[in-house]
Symmetry: C2
DNA sequence: GGCGATATACTCAAAACTGAGTATTCAAAC
DNA sequence: GTTTGAATACTCAGTTTTGAGTATATCGCC
């Protein structure tokens, strides 16, 4: 299922009927900065959208090319698109942040090593921001909102890493030997 | 696989050996604000971690309780935990933002409706921030970094929605009839 | 005219994930 | 004493997702 991927495919097919390969090329080349959709998954979803009646496929035989299927949206699909779009725009679902898992256990590493790792991450974030910023320059206005969104989140991420780095630096054992005691987080045991 | 979930389970089992139910209770109750891990997925992952030798299970038979399996981490698991933690901390992988999909097609809705939807979303974000802020008050210091992280991203999200709302408001057709023409995004056709 | 590289267009088996269901114990209400 | 509801502890069939593989056509170059 996955609402968002369905929305994406329906939205693209709505703008223009396509065959699977063309759809995949478009996503991979134009949308790779915000969407990660494997080709095999796209084919699977197209098939499912067909089975569910939201798109239809037509086998196309042109000259001696290998035959291919052209997908186009159906009226039911158009309705679903509108519904999904409305839902997507009005709902807020906080994404799952993998970095949250790491940060829960971060204090179990020696502070010096943790700091080194966080600096590496900081560099990675900066590199990523550079890459996204470049995109911003030459994209149609319809895409700038998406980039904008990414950049804001990247800034948030950066602020956060910087805070953490500052905090962990302050806790580094100094020459006078004062340091915070690391504690293993306790799991509530109800027995 | 999913690095992050493995890291989570290993990290929790490392702090304390547990049986599946206890692990699930802990995740659902203490970590629901940042982790969404279905119970069935947890059992699946525990089983896989066993098969791969990172944890071991021991069947426990206590009185006339239904029997249950206690999982504890192995030395290989400990190594994996350390590796995954280092990786998680040093790498930056931009998460997939479902809202990006909606925003690509947003301009295909009538501006007035779009604005209404965005306002609904704005409310949802505010509610969520309220909920997370409350958590901040009574949590151990080991968790505040995670909450901090969430709040920063929520602020980013809020800034973004506000920008979009402002922009779309400006484009609303006014009494004098001036309005921007909506364009369906073009798909590059290489044929 | 043949050879490798690239583009086209998927297929499939295996892995990962989920929702719904199963089964037992215990405590409290009726 | 028995029904009801919550807590304990998973299982499993089905769905979704993926990486690796398959197969043909076309293009340029030697």
């Amino acid at each position: 299922m996955s609402m968002d991927r369905q929305l994406l495919l329906l939205g693209l097919l709505r703008a223009q009927e396509m065959h699977g390969y063309q759809l995949n090329e478009f996503i991979d080349q134009q949308m790779n900065f915000c969407v990660d959709l494997k080709r095999s998954t796209a084919y699977y979803l197209l098939d499912k959208l067909c089975r569910d009646g939201y798109v239809e496929e037509e086998v196309e035989r042109e000259g001696n090319r290998p035959e291919r299927k052209v997908y186009h949206i159906t009226p039911t699909g158009e309705t679903l698109f509108q519904d999904l779009l409305r839902q997507n725009l009005s709902v807020y679902a906080p994404p799952f942040y993998p970095e949250d898992i790491g940060i829960i256990f971060e204090h179990q590493l020696p502070p010096a090593e943790s700091l080194a790792l966080l600096h590496t991450r900081r560099e990675a974030i900066l590199r990523h921001r550079e890459r996204v910023s470049v995109l911003y320059q030459h994209l149609p206005p319809s895409h700038t909102a998406v980039i904008d969104h990414h950049i804001l989140h990247l800034e948030a991420e950066l602020t956060w890493v910087d805070r953490l780095i500052a905090d962990r630096s302050a806790r580094l054992p100094t020459a006078d030997g004062a340091s915070a005691a690391p504690a293993i987080p306790c799991v509530a045991d109800s027995e």
